[in-house]
């Protein structure tokens, strides 16, 4: 796509910002079946390894005075526990392991994805859609199991004038079903956007030498794009955490709606 879009000056620059998201079989072959070990599998497994290292081995000494690793695990525990309690309510605490699972998986995937040359599992809609649908199904099931038909009061805004209520009910219903869409696309989109933009800057960073010929414009472009990569990387570190946090906190908000549908 690069050569015809850009001028002759940058003819040698190659932009493949989306290549980093390609799913490839790890052990040869082109076909990706259901159980093929791919790079996505590898990085998911690494997320599990990292999580076990942090949450299980970190806390294995059960020290009253925590070591550094243990205090990180305790910090994560306290952070999510407090969030579930504050946002979703005290009776949502039994969903804490579930939300913790989502949060830890997303956090580890996001941060592992920031390692150069790595693969970011959370940048794939296949992953985030499943995560969001799990939340959606769980929340809906919990809502109906806990409140029965009263759960539908979520869509019936009793504080609005009677004439407006059916209209609002339709809007609420639509927004309810849009939830998993925005929930999943927000995460994948954020992660993908940041990584793709970093990749574009990385392509510009190669402007110093195009087609093995040094270029004058590269003297300015290359340092600027390296600076840009650094700044964006810092932003992405922030985004990696905030998106995991947002995903978890929205799950809590949806759970609160399911547990206490009256509003």
């Amino acid at each position: 796509m690069a050569s015809e879009v850009h001028g002759a000056d940058e003819g040698g620059l190659v932009f493949h910002p989306m290549d980093q998201f390609t799913v490839k079989p790890l052990f040869g072959g082109d076909h990706i079946g259901m159980f093929t070990i791919t790079n996505a599998t590898l990085w998911m497994a690494l997320a599990v390894v990292g999580l076990v290292a942090m949450m299980v081995f970190g806390s294995s000494r059960r020290a009253v005075i925590p070591t550094r690793a243990q205090s990180i695990a305790e910090l994560a525990y306290g952070f999510i526990f407090k969030m579930v309690e504050d946002v979703a309510g005290k009776d949502a605490v039994r969903f804490f392991p579930y939300i913790m699972t989502l949060f830890m998986f997303i956090v580890f995937s996001n941060f592992l994805g920031l390692i150069p040359m790595s693969f970011t599992t959370t940048s794939h809609f296949a992953v985030t859609v499943v995560l969001a649908l799990l939340v959606f199904v769980t929340v809906t099931a919990v809502g109906f199991a806990k409140n029965g038909a009263k759960f539908l009061a979520l869509f019936w805004v009793s504080s609005a004038p009677m004439a407006l209520r059916p209209v609002l009910a339709v809007i609420e219903l639509i927004s309810y079903f849009v939830r998993p869409v925005s929930h999943s696309i927000r995460l994948a989109g954020n992660v993908m956007a940041g990584h793709a933009v970093i990749k574009v800057f990385a392509a510009f960073a190669a402007a110093l030498v195009v087609n093995e010929i040094p270029t004058a414009v590269g003297i300015i472009v290359t340092p600027l794009s390296i600076l840009g990569i650094t700044a964006l990387y810092a932003l992405e570190v922030l985004v990696a955490f905030i998106q995991a946090y947002v995903f978890a906190i929205l799950t809590c908000v949806y759970l609160r709606d399911a547990l206490h549908p009256s509003h």
């Binding site: 796509m1 290549d19 799913v23 259901m34 599998t41 999580l51 806390s59 525990y77 998986f105 296949a126």
Partner: protein, 180 residues
């Protein structure tokens, strides 16, 4: 750039082929979803069976320890307060005792002093009386002697002048003179 051609190409690392969006390559969704579910189940069990109960236990234990330590600290603080009060009491007692001893010593010394002064005064008075008496005696002795000498001298003078001295008159004259 349709997804099926992309899927057929397998991986689009080749610069010549259209990059496309790997996210929309639905041929590998099954694979990803399968491994994602495996991952999530593993994480869920690791967290809910091992990690979270353990951390919860550690946090509870720490909370207990902190509560106990705070209670112990309160107790020690109370004890320290008591000890301080006892110390202060002892200090007050000691001060009072010292005051008392000083007072006693002072009183004793005062008594001794008074006694000594009284004795000295008495002695001085006695000595003074004695001396006065002696002086009086001496003075009396001296007056008598003067009278005798005056009478004798007057008698002699009268005799020398050729008269006959009447002892009684001379004596009376001397007496009169002595009084004047």
């Amino acid at each position: 750039m349709a997804t099926d051609t992309h899927a057929a190409a397998g991986h689009a690392a080749d610069a010549a082929s259209a990059p496309g969006m790997p996210q929309l390559d639905f041929s590998n969704w099954g694979n990803q979803i399968f491994w994602l579910l495996v991952t999530l189940v593993v994480i869920y069990f690791v967290l809910s069976r091992i990690a979270l109960p353990r951390i919860a236990a550690v946090l509870a234990e720490r909370q207990g320890t902190i509560t106990n330590d705070i209670a112990a600290a309160e107790e020690l603080k109370a004890k320290a307060g008591e000890a301080e009060a006892a110390y202060n009491q002892a200090l007050v007692d000691a001060r009072a005792e010292a005051q008392r001893i000083v007072g006693e010593a002072k009183a004793e010394i005062q008594t001794d002093l008074d006694a000594a002064i009284a004795k000295a005064d008495a002695e001085i008075a006695a000595k003074a009386a004695e001396s006065e008496k002696a002086i009086a005696e001496i003075r009396a002795g001296a007056v008598d002697s003067i009278r005798d000498v005056a009478a004798d001298t007057a008698k002699e003078i009268v005799a020398a002048l050729g008269g006959k001295a009447d002892a009684k008159a001379v004596k009376a004259a001397v007496e009169a003179r002595m009084k004047g």
